[in-house]
Point group: C2
Chain length 338, copies 2
């Protein structure tokens, strides 16, 4: 089947390309009758405008790029869900890029996106990223950027996050109130905003309760999860006095769970765990895991809303548009999912 384009329609209708184009965009300078004729034929021939020609001409792609570390983390899956919803509502398309927490990959992706493939970018920073020159250059290229979850405050733009500091504080307090004496904190890269903030909450909660801070009880996870479980086991073996664990990310929470089972530490009798997790099925773990659940869908949705608003009005995204949503500390009992 021939590609049906404006020219095709125009010839068929005995009109000019310009008029057809205007009619399809519901321009007020086209007669109602003509509009109707054009639309009828377009519908009949199932005309679809060529998105790239249009993008080239208008200098906007109706597309946003989503750059995340991975998609197999339930937080990001939920966030994408929210992002896609917001995008669809505004007639935007969503390109997905995975960094696998690798700085080089993140930089390459960002660099490429400066070619105009997207009108804006949603980014959750890779844990391997230190240097942020690639992000600064986005400003020059005039491509709006909105951070979500894993942010960098050095870049002057909006950030959509959860109350990481408070969550870390409350998680730690929860363990303290449950009687824990030696609470370890497992985090990912401390250079990452979420790791840093959650850790600060942990520190302050300890201080507020007059507990000493023991650096040996802080473990920074790696990319490799097998290795993480090993590291956790080592930690637990070398410090049998640990009776509480705050795990800053899902992988580490689940890893801790595994490690405890492996070592025969009973939960929650011997050791109590609070972990970040957006996996609904943790409610089926037994013993149940106390979790901090983030409003992942809403984070994605909000971040996309902010970005799209800026894109549509061709305005910059301001740091003042940042949003902080609340996580929930949930002591799971059995509940229905979804």
């Amino acid at each position: 089947m021939k590609n049906v384009n404006l020219k095709h329609l125009a010839e068929e209708l005995g009109l000019s390309i310009a008029t057809v184009s205007r009619a399809l965009q519901d321009s007020h300078e086209v007669s109602a009758a003509t509009k109707e004729r054009v639309r009828a034929l377009a519908a009949e021939l199932r005309y679809e405008p060529n998105a790239y020609a249009s993008s080239l001409r208008r200098n906007q792609s109706k597309t946003i790029g989503v750059v995340i570390p991975k998609v197999t983390n339930h937080f990001f899956a939920l966030a994408i869900n929210g992002i896609e919803e917001a995008a669809r509502q505004s007639g935007y398309h969503v390109l997905i890029y995975l960094t696998h927490d690798d700085y080089a990959r993140e930089a390459a992706i960002i660099q490429h996106l400066k070619g105009g493939r997207v009108d804006g970018i949603l980014l959750s920073v890779a844990s391997g990223t230190e240097d942020i020159a690639h992000l600064e250059s986005l400003q020059d290229a005039n491509i709006p950027l909105v951070f979500f979850d894993r942010v960098r405050t050095e870049i002057a733009t909006a950030r959509v996050t959860t109350n990481d500091y408070e969550s870390g504080y409350r998680a730690t307090e929860h363990l303290l109130e449950a009687g824990c004496q030696h609470i370890a904190h497992l985090l990912i890269s401390n250079s990452l905003s979420i790791g840093h903030n959650r850790h600060q909450g942990y520190l302050d909660a300890l201080a507020a309760h007059g507990r000493p801070y023991d650096p040996d009880l802080v473990l920074a996870g790696t990319i490799d999860n097998q290795r993480n479980v090993q590291l956790i086991e080592e930690l637990l073996r070398s410090r049998p006095d640990i009776d509480g664990i705050f795990a800053s990310v899902e992988r580490l929470a689940v890893g801790t769970y595994h490690a405890c089972q492996q070592l025969g530490r009973r939960i929650p009798e011997d050791i109590k765990i609070v972990g970040f997790s957006n996996l609904e099925s943790v409610s089926l773990f037994d013993p149940p895991l106390t979790t901090i659940t983030q409003p992942a869908h809403d984070i994605g949705y909000e971040a996309a809303r902010i970005l799209l608003q800026a894109v549509e009005k061709k305005r910059a995204v301001l740091p003042s548009q940042s949003v902080v949503l609340d996580s929930e500390l949930v002591q799971r009992r059995s509940t229905a999912t979804e």
Copy 2:
């Protein structure tokens, strides 16, 4: 900062646009010296080609569309992971669209994609889809399509699936060998390939073991998972003789688990469950769930490979290129008991 484009580079270098273009594409009809000069300036100015201009001209977008029911299902998250990997290796981009199992949405997405936004489509059919005219029209538009997981055999193209029939058979046999007398099957839409095939495996296993088929023991799930748990509970209440359940999709497997806990049915003493699931953390459920795990990443990767190969060679995708990968039946052991 001004957008740096070919014209810009050409002026700066005192060359024609065409030469610059050729140099950047490493054309053999450009002198090495010129190439070097061009590349140096391009790198210095961080030139990024405008993808849409190139797409328009070449009539190919270097982009594939992935159309799936949802992303919050771990199977699809893993599949996307594989797809992104294959795409990146070939320099392709990935657009994500979610149907939420809604036919109208799927049709609208497919229709839109005929506008040339993508060079090919990977599709996992929505459970709400019956009519497939929208998919047939892709052939006319000359856009290659590869199905994965949820396929429709009426369309003559490649399908990447798991051995659903065998999995259903083995799951049922597993329950029979464990001594179950009344085995229920929970599936989604029977019009969906995976539901249909898994169900056929269930039926044949029953027959092979000389067991009668009781239609009352077959439950078709809905979109709404809350409702599914209710339906499962009703089924279990009305048929207390059920002592085995084969759940065809992750949601229903987890839902069954919930329902059993709710009703106080002990697993596996009172009732045994085998369910499809790609969620690694099911190993932490207690009592553990016997699962059928699909090679989700590989499915995505394979499907993308087949599609990209066709796209690059501008050849049609043939049904004969279909691939069937094997699922694994895993009896999880609770590590806590050791």
